[in-house]
């Protein structure tokens, strides 16, 4: 997906992944090598650029401020997760409302469902990956169960949707 974004996407993309602290994965490097856009890990009070990809750091929650900055939070984990997808989704709902698109992918708990519902309720485009396509079905499934997903799409459909929104 990161690979498919053109250098002039002109959108801000935030990627929140459940990850273990003290585990220095090569994932940012891998993403950065495959991205034509500016890609970096979020740091506190960093200005949110209009054409960039951000990765939520491990062991912090990533929040979006109304003044166009990211902020971080080390408070308790949500659904055993820090970063929690709910936390980022909910703060995006507060600030961006209907102007953002959220996609919830595979995962082993219910994180993200509540946040996705908040986004849907304020008019955002919300998508859950089809549980059939997900490596771990629980996360998209719990969003679907709560009617948080406006659309349930296969991997191909998600990819096509992104392509069509770009062009």
């Amino acid at each position: 997906m990161v690979k498919s974004f053109p250098h002039d996407l002109n959108k801000t993309v935030v990627i929140v992944m459940h990850r273990k602290k003290n585990f220095f994965s090569e994932i940012e490097k891998l993403f950065a090598e495959n991205s034509r856009m500016l890609l970096r890990e979020v740091s506190d009070k960093e200005k949110i650029e209009g054409n960039a990809i951000y990765i939520a750091p491990a062991n912090y929650h990533t929040l979006i401020e109304s003044d166009g900055l990211f902020s971080l939070d080390v408070s308790e984990a949500v659904w055993y997760s820090k970063p929690s997808i709910d936390v980022t989704f909910e703060s995006a709902a507060e600030v961006y409302k209907q102007s953002c698109t959220a996609i919830l992918f595979s995962g082993a708990n219910q994180d993200g469902a509540e946040g996705l519902l908040k986004l849907r309720n304020c008019g955002a485009l919300t998508i859950a990956q089809s549980p059939v396509d997900a490596e771990m079905a629980e996360m998209p499934q719990s969003a679907i169960d709560r009617e948080a997903a406006g659309y349930v799409l296969s991997n191909n459909e998600i990819f096509e949707l992104i392509q069509s929104s770009i062009s």
């Binding site: 009070k45 308790e76 984990a77 909910e90």
Partner: protein, 278 residues
């Protein structure tokens, strides 16, 4: 189970009203706390306590015990021993060789919460044979957590959860070597407690109280807006001896141009700085 949600959430004007109320009645100023995070904390309190906006105002005015709880929830007290092991490695290799040249090493652990970070520093100083000439001041706004810090007794479950961090620092032995374990609790060794002092200090309203060779203030700035961060950077600058060290959290960078001139970067990734200039 912790969920991020509640059915009822506070609006920004309601939050501003609470901030004003708390400032007037209790003298704590949250007006320059990071908004999104503050909202989350307050929403969490009304959810846990099942309060309406009016209930919340009522108990904040009339129930002093509730205010302590409120303060504890708002000022996030989640902490770990040896959080970010690479930071402790960097202290060991890049900072302690210089600190060891001082006759006395005074360390200020600002926003120390229940003391985990202060004792991590105490262990690291001890392992570097520096504890005899060093003293750690731990400060926080919250008196309850300071009591925990003074005791230095943690649940064994917590200490075990820090074992992995400890391992990654490369320090010898295991974390439990520094504790006396009794039943399900672990008490930090008295030799480590000896050179520590925990007391109340409010970074927002209190001022310089000593001169330090090193200040650590990690994962506190994330809760403050940038103007407030700069005022506290100034407080730290004035509290450091020439060439003293300032350690911020892993994701807390000094962004302002004026302070970038006053602090030299010692370790970019770990946000370790050294005071330079007059």
């Amino acid at each position: 189970m912790d969920t991020a949600s509640s059915n009822f959430t506070l609006t920004q004007p309601q939050i501003s009203e609470i901030i004003d109320l708390v400032k007037k009645i209790h003298g704590f100023d949250f007006s320059e706390y990071t908004k999104a995070s503050l909202k989350r904390r307050m929403d969490r309190i009304v959810m846990l306590k099942k309060l309406s906006f009016y209930d919340l105002k009522h108990v904040l005015v009339n129930d002093p015990a509730f205010f302590q709880e409120f303060l504890e929830e708002i000022t996030v007290n989640v902490t770990e021993m040896f959080r970010d092991p690479t930071f402790y490695k960097a202290l060991h290799s890049q900072v302690f060789p210089y600190l060891s040249t001082y006759q006395h090493i005074k360390v200020w652990c600002a926003g120390c919460s229940s003391g985990e970070e202060a004792y991590s520093l105490a262990i690291l100083l001890n392992e570097n044979k520096l504890s005899k000439k060093s003293f750690i001041y731990g400060t926080d706004v919250n008196t309850e957590v300071l009591n925990e810090a003074r005791k230095g007794i943690y649940s064994l479950r917590k200490i075990k959860s820090y074992a992995e961090n400890y391992l990654f620092t490369g320090l010898p032995g295991s974390i439990t070597d520094h504790f006396t374990v009794m039943y399900d609790a672990a008490a930090v060794h008295s030799e480590l407690k000896q050179n520590t002092l925990f007391s109340v200090h409010n970074l927002i309203s209190d001022t310089v109280f000593n001169e330090f060779q090193m200040i650590t203030c990690r994962n506190v700035f994330i809760y403050f807006e940038t103007d407030l961060q700069e005022r506290i950077l100034d407080l730290f600058y004035r509290s450091l001896c020439p060439l003293g060290y300032l350690c911020l959290g892993n994701k807390e960078t000094i962004r302002s141009d004026s302070f970038r001139k006053k602090f030299k970067v010692i370790n970019q990734k770990e946000n370790i700085y050294q005071k330079i200039g007059a």
